[in-house]
Every structure is written in C-alpha cells, then in structure tokens.
C-alpha cells in the first residue's frame, strides 16, 4: 500500500489539491483513502472531503508524526484490513515532520500484513503569501521544504511573476534536490502531474540516520 504525504503550511491549498488529486487517481482506477490530522477533536477537512464522495478518516489529539503516531499506525492498519485502499493520501497538520510521519506509517506493519511504500513527499508553498510566511513562521516553512521530494509552488494563478520567482529562490536555498513544480487549485494546473508522481514514483523508507541529519541541519546540535 502506498502512502502519499501532502504537506504545507496552513492555507497553502492542501485540501483542495488533495481532493483534486484523489479524484484524478480514482478515475485511473485506484482505491483511495485519505487521512487528515486537524485541530483538536473538531475536524473540518474530513467532512469537506467526504462531500466529494471520497473516503476520509480524521485523527485528532496531537500530531500524527509523533504524539499520536500509534493512532496513525493503527488507522493505516485498519484501513488496509477493511477498506483495502492501494493509495492512502495523508494531509498532516501544519507542524508534522515528513520523515517522522514516514516512521509512524511504517509502524502499521507491526499491526497488519500491510507493507508500506512511500510516494514522494510533496510540500505546498503558497506563492501569494511567501513573504509573510517566511517572516512569521520561517522554521516551520523551512522544515516542510527541507524534507520534501517535490515542492509545489501553489496558487500561481493569483501570484505575480516576482512572487513565483521568490518562492523558487526560497525553496532552492533550503532544498537543492527537490523537484519544483507550479500548481493552482483554481485552474487545476499540476493535478495530473502530481497524480502521476504519486502513482508511479517512490520515496525511500524511514532511515533514522537521514532524519537525524535533517534535524541537525534544521536545528543544529549533534
């Protein structure tokens, strides 16, 4: 079963993109489940996603990459054993750390006969707010970009060329290996390409040494 993370800061367009990509994958014959991790016990996104006829599970009580990793692993195992999706798309909360989430997902292998394969980690950057976000929540934005395999500069239909270029430079300054793509939830730009990436490509499994190195780069120390 393949797990696809769509990360990104709040309001970057994760839910809209996730719905469009999930619907595209359904039309290609995939069985899709979606896991969302929202604020506290009161979830908006799962209910909105379900209005599109998609299977969505909400997990609350903390961040799924560490504080409630057990619940996340159990949800994946139960989904695998009951709904049997071939792709699970995860929309983590705005503070989830992608490598931690990979590790949490792999714990499900101890609870079921599921074998987890990871799609490339996709992070969204809101081109229209890039300046504001870097100023206010730089650490969070940097973490999500640093651990991405693919970074989508989103809302390009509403952004200026300057904002798009600034986003590109920000991403390159933090992560020199990520593939950079342009997307727009409003026009559908990038949806088929992201569906292709999730469908056809894989990202490495959790590796403690890699995570430690990423954390060291981000936060310093040993």
């Amino acid at each position: 079963m393949k797990l696809a993370q769509i990360a990104g800061f709040l309001g970057s367009g994760k839910t809209t993109l996730l719905i469009d990509v999930a619907r595209e994958l359904v039309t290609r014959g995939h069985r899709i489940a979606i896991i969302v991790n929202d604020v506290g016990e009161i979830n908006v996104d799962a209910k909105f996603i379900e209005t599109y006829g998609l299977k969505a599970k909400e997990i609350s009580g903390g961040c799924i990459c560490c504080q409630i990793a057990g619940s996340f692993a159990n949800t994946i195992a139960v989904l695998h054993d009951t709904f049997k999706p071939d792709i699970v798309i995860v929309e983590p909360s705005g503070v989830a750390i992608p490598w931690g989430l990979k590790r949490a997902a792999e714990y499900s292998e101890a609870e079921s006969d599921v074998i987890i394969e990871h799609a490339p980690v996709i992070t969204l950057v809101d081109a229209t707010r890039v300046d504001l976000l870097v100023e206010a929540v730089r650490r969070l934005v940097e973490t999500q970009i640093r651990e991405a395999d693919v970074v989508l500069i989103n809302k390009v239909d509403a952004a200026t060329e300057e904002q798009i270029e600034k986003s590109r430079q920000l991403i390159r300054g933090i992560n020199d290996h990520a593939e950079i793509m342009l997307a727009s939830g409003r026009t559908g730009k990038g949806v088929k390409e992201i569906a292709d990436i999730i469908e056809k490509r894989v990202s490495p499994r959790y590796d403690e040494a890699v995570e430690k190195e990423l954390l060291r780069k981000q936060y310093g120390g040993g």
């Binding site: 309001g11 009161i42 560490c66 705005g94 714990y107 079921s112 929540v137």
Partner: protein, 161 residues
Amino acid sequence: MSSGPQPSEHEDELHLELHRAADELGKYAAKMRISDPKGIAPDRAKRFMDSLLVTVTKENFAVGADLIGHVKAFLHSPDGTLMGSLVDMNTGVQLTSGLTKKSFKDAEIILHVIVHGIWDDKVRDATRVGIQKVIKEYGLGLEVLQDYFETEKSIEHHLKK
C-alpha cells in the same frame, strides 16, 4: 507481518520539543448549531459565512494576531453543505457551496481559527466575541455544542524554560 520499530520509540522528547518550537500558532475550534425558525435562505447563509470568518479574524487581529494561519468553517444543513476559507483578507473568503435552493431552519457549523501572534486563550476569547457579533447581526439562534483549545498553549507554554 514485517518487524519494524515499535510505537514506544515515538516517546521521543526531541521530536516533541521540535514541535513545540515550530508550532507558533494559536488555535481555537468550535462546533455550533445555528437556527432560525423562519428559515435561512442559501444566500443569507453565504453572507453569514463570509461575515463570520471576516469578523472573527478582525477580532483576533484587534488583540494582537499578526498573520492568518487559516480561518475556515464547514456548514452542514439538511439541504446541503457550505465551506468557507479565509487565508488572506485582501483575497477575501472563498466559498464552496453545495447548498440547494431551499431554506433550512438549522444547521451545524464547525469553525476553525488558526492565527499567528497570540496563543489559544486569546484566540478563543476573540473568536467568541466575533461569533456573538455576527449571530446578533443575522438574528440567529446559537448553541455551542463543543469547543477546543490547547490549555498548554494558553498557560504552560509561557512557563517553559
């Protein structure tokens, strides 16, 4: 079944500390029921949603918030759903309507307010002020079914060394 690391390894202090360091946002969520025995027409529901998100955001900015994380709400009525999302005051509220043309007498609405610059207790108080203003303006009945904010963000965070 593969043998992987066990969930107990997730009790990782470093990870939790990183989250606390990175999560600089104040949050409040509320699940409510709104009602009007005379009925709420879809256009009025849309105006209410727009006004609710803008007003609670302004109230949060009035007490120190300096950036919208995401302010959003999902309305579920017997005659369809309505999603509202606000991330930028200049862009305004984005509505996705699945409402029919019929009026409805009551609906559940879930509101999320996530902003930067103030902690959860202030977000809760400012949001409640905003909700009451809009409810009064639209002449609706209101019942708060459930609400949520992190106590740690309002008190303990400031005690951390």
